[in-house]
C-alpha cells in the first residue's frame, strides 16, 4: 500500500495506543482470553511466516519448536527453580540448535515432501516426550506450581498482564520481520521462495539463508511455547507438540496474506474471532466444528484469493479508491 511515511507512523501510533489501552476498557475475562489467543497465534504465525511465507518453505511442524521451548523453560523452572524469563530465552536457543539437524534433514526435500518431513519431526519429538517418562513426566505432563503474583517467575494474577507480555512478543516478532523484509536477507528469501534454483544461479547461498531464517523462526516459535505453558499452568506432550499449533501457524499466515508483514495478524483476527463466535453460539459440545470452518475458509482463500485477505483488501482499495489496477 502506498501510504506516505507520516501517515504510516500515525496509524502505528493509533494502533499502539488502542492495543495498550484495550485491557483497561475490556475487563471480561472471556474477551481478554480471546485477545491473548489472537496475539499468541499472530506471533506464532509471524514466526512461521518468516520461513513459510517469505521463503515458501511450507512447514507443518512448527509445533516441534513450540514444544521444545515449552519443555525447556518448564524443566528449568520445575526442576531447578529458574525463572521462565530466563527459561524462555534458553528454550529459544535450544530450539535454534534443534532446528539445525531438523533443517539439515528436511531441506533435502522440496515442496510437499519438505512439508511431510516437518510433520514427521514434530511427531517424533512428541513421541519421544510421551515415551520416555523419566525425561519429562511422560504422557500425564505436569502442572506449573502456582506462586500467586510472581512477575519475576512470569506468573500474574491479572490476565491483562499476560496480554501485555504476549503483545510485547508480537511487537518483537513484527519488528524482526520488518527488519528482515527490508534487508538483503529479505530479498534472498523472496528469491528462494519464487524459484530456488534460479536464486542459487544468481549467487544466493540458498542453504545458508534457509538455515538462518529457520533458526530465527524456531527461536520465536519457542518463545510462544514458554508463554503458553505459563499462561495455562500446564504442560504435556499432546498440548506442547499439538499438530493444531503447526496447522494454525500456517493457516493464519495463508488466510491473512502469505509473505506479508501483517498477514498473520489479520488471518489470526479472522480465524480466532470466527472460532470464538462459533463457540459462543454452539458451545464447545460440537467437536470438529472449528476446524471444519477453518478448512472451508482456507479452501476459499486458496481457490479465489491465494494472496489472502491482504491481497483482497489491496485489490478492493485500488479498484474503489484509486481506480488503478492492482499490482500483481
Amino acid at each position: 500500500m502506498q501510504t506516505s511515511g507520516n501517515m504510516k507512523w500515525l496509524w502505528l501510533a493509533i494502533g499502539a495506543v488502542v492495543m495498550l489501552a484495550l485491557p483497561q476498557f475490556v475487563t471480561s475475562s472471556f474477551a481478554i482470553d480471546i485477545f491473548i489467543r489472537i496475539l499468541l497465534f499472530s506471533f506464532i504465525g509471524v514466526a512461521w511466516n518468516l520461513m513459510g511465507g517469505y521463503a515458501k518453505q511450507l512447514s507443518l511442524g512448527h509445533a516441534a519448536y513450540f514444544g521444545v521451548g515449552a519443555y525447556t523453560s518448564t524443566i528449568m523452572q520445575v526442576n531447578y527453580g529458574i525463572s521462565p524469563w530466563i527459561g524462555m530465552i534458553a528454550g529459544g536457543v535450544v530450539a535454534m540448535l534443534a532446528s539445525l539437524p531438523i533443517g539439515w534433514l528436511c531441506f533435502r526435500l522440496r515442496g510437499p515432501y519438505f512439508t511431510i518431513a516437518t510433520i514427521a519431526t514434530a511427531q517424533v519429538l512428541m513421541l519421544i516426550f510421551l515415551k520416555f517418562r523419566d525425561f519429562a513426566w511422560g504422557a500425564e505432563g505436569t502442572t506449573i506450581p502456582n506462586l500467586g503474583s510472581a512477575p519475576l517467575m512470569m506468573q500474574f494474577e491479572e490476565k491483562s498482564s499476560y496480554y501485555y507480555v504476549v503483545l510485547g512478543l508480537l511487537v518483537v516478532g513484527l519488528w524482526i520481520t520488518h527488519q528482515i523484509e527490508k534487508s538483503w536477507i529479505g530479498y534472498y528469501l523472496v528469491a528462494i521462495g519464487e524459484d530456488e534454483d534460479a536464486a542459487e544461479a544468481i549467487g544466493v547461498n540458498a542453504p545458508k539463508v534457509k538455515r538462518d531464517i529457520y533458526m530465527i523462526s524456531a527461536f520465536l516459535t519457542a518463545l510462544a511455547g514458554t508463554f503458553y505453558t505459563q499462561y495455562i499452568y500446564f504442560i504435556d506432550p499432546a498440548t506442547a507438540f499439538s499438530f493444531n499449533v503447526s496447522i494454525e501457524a500456517a493457516l493464519v499466515s495463508i488466510v491473512g496474506g502469505i509473505g506479508t508483514l501483517w498477514g498473520p495478524v489479520i488471518g489470526t483476527v479472522l480465524l480466532e474471532t470466527t472460532s470464538a463466535l462459533l463457540q459462543s453460539w454452539l458451545g464447545s459440545s460440537v467437536g470438529g466444528i472449528q476446524l471444519t470452518v477453518y478448512s472451508l475458509i482456507l479452501m476459499a482463500v486458496i481457490l479465489w484469493r491465494p494472496t489472502g485477505l491482504i491481497g483482497f483488501a489491496t485489490d478492493v482499495y485500488h479498484r474503489t479508491l484509486r481506480r488503478k489496477p492492482a499490482r500483481a
Binding site: 533435502r108 515432501y113 512439508t115 510433520i119 514427521a120 515415551k131 471444519t292 479452501m299 486458496i302 491465494p306
Partner: protein, 289 residues
C-alpha cells in the same frame, strides 16, 4: 524366538498390503498429477464408513461392499480433480499443498461432527477365524485383505501397462508436456489417475473393516505410512511404493513386537528420517515440473 519373529513378519506383511493400496494411490497421484494428496488417508476413512453403514444398515459384508466403496470414491476423485485440484495446478506449491491439506481437515472434522469420535466395528463370521500353520497364527480376515490388495495392485499394474489409457497415464507421469504434444488429454488422464487412487483408498477402507475400527482419525495412521513408503520407494514409482509399503508393515510389526506396543510409529518415522539422511538423492530430485 524364530516363531515370534516369523509371526511378527507375517503380521506386518499382511497389514503392509493395506499400506500398499494407500501408498500406490499417493504415488499414482504424485506421478501423474504432480501433487501430494494430503487427504488420501481421509478417503480410506470414508471407505471404512461406507462399508460400516452398508454392513449395519443392510447387512452387507464389508468385502462385498468393495463394489460400492470403490466406484463411489472413484467418482468422488474425478469430481475433486475436476472442480478443485485442476484449479491449482501450476508452478506454485502453496495452493497445491494446502488445498489437499484443507480437504483432509474438512473431511476429518466433518466426520467428527457427523459420526462422532466413537470407534465403529463390524463383526463378520470370519473376523475371529484364523489358520494355525506350524505354530503360526494367520487371521483369515487379514489374509483376505492382503490377497485382495495384492490382486488390485496387480490389476492396476496391468491397467498401466496394457491399456491405452494406462499407457497415457504413464506417459503423462514421465513427461507431461511431451505427452500432451502426443495428443494425450491431460485433464482426462489426471481425472482417471485421481479417481483410481481414491478407489484404491476406498478398497483399503472396505478391506480393513472386518478387523479394524473406523473412527475419524483412522486415516492419519495410513497416510503417514504411505508418505514414508512413497519417499522410500522413490516418488512416483508404483512398484517402489508397493515394496516399500510391505517393508514398512514388517518394520512396524517388528517394532511393536520387540520394542514395545506403542513404538510402531517411532520405527516408521525413524525409517523416514534415516532414508532422508542417507538416501536423499533419489528422493527430492525426481520432483519434475
Amino acid at each position: 524366538m524364530w516363531e515370534t519373529l516369523a509371526q511378527a513378519v507375517i503380521n506386518g506383511l499382511l497389514i503392509g498390503g493395506i499400506y500398499a493400496l494407500v501408498s500406490i494411490g499417493v504415488t499414482l497421484i504424485f506421478g501423474v498429477v504432480k501433487i501430494v494428496n494430503f487427504a488420501q488417508g481421509e478417503f480410506v476413512m470414508l471407505g471404512m464408513y461406507i462399508s460400516f453403514f452398508l454392513a449395519t444398515q443392510f447387512g452387507i459384508d464389508p468385502l462385498v461392499s468393495l463394489v460400492v466403496s470403490m466406484p463411489v470414491l472413484f467418482v468422488a476423485g474425478v469430481l475433486i480433480q475436476h472442480f478443485l485440484i485442476r484449479r491449482v495446478l501450476g508452478p506454485n506449491d502453496m495452493p497445491q499443498i494446502f488445498l489437499t491439506f484443507a480437504l483432509s481437515l474438512l473431511l476429518l472434522n466433518l466426520s467428527l461432527m457427523l459420526f462422532s469420535a466413537n470407534y465403529r466395528t463390524v463383526h463378520t463370521s470370519y473376523s475371529d477365524e484364523a489358520w494355525h500353520i506350524g505354530g503360526l497364527y494367520i487371521p483369515v480376515a487379514k489374509l483376505i485383505a492382503f490377497a485382495v490388495a495384492m490382486a488390485l495392485s496387480g490389476l492396476l499394474w496391468l491397467f498401466l501397462h496394457t491399456t491405452d489409457l494406462g499407457r497415457a497415464m504413464r506417459a503423462a507421469s514421465q513427461n507431461r508436456d511431451v505427452a500432451m504434444l502426443m495428443g494425450i488429454n491431460p485433464n482426462r488422464v489426471f481425472a482417471v489417475a485421481f479417481g483410481t487412487a481414491l478407489a484404491l483408498a476406498g478398497a483399503a477402507g472396505s478391506l480393513l473393516m472386518p478387523f479394524y475400527s473406523a473412527y475419524p482419525f483412522v486415516g492419519q495412521v495410513f497416510v503417514l505410512m504411505a508418505f514414508v513408503a512413497v519417499v522410500m520407494g522413490t516418488l512416483g514409482n508404483v512398484m517402489g511404493a508397493l515394496v516399500a509399503s510391505l517393508m514398512m508393515g514388517i518394520a512396524e510389526s517388528l517394532g511393536i513386537q520387540f520394542v514395545g506396543a506403542d513404538s510402531g510409529l517411532i520405527v516408521v518415522f525413524a525409517l523416514l528420517l534415516l532414508t532422508l539422511a542417507f538416501r536423499p538423492s533419489g528422493l527430492g530430485a525426481r520432483r519434475g515440473r
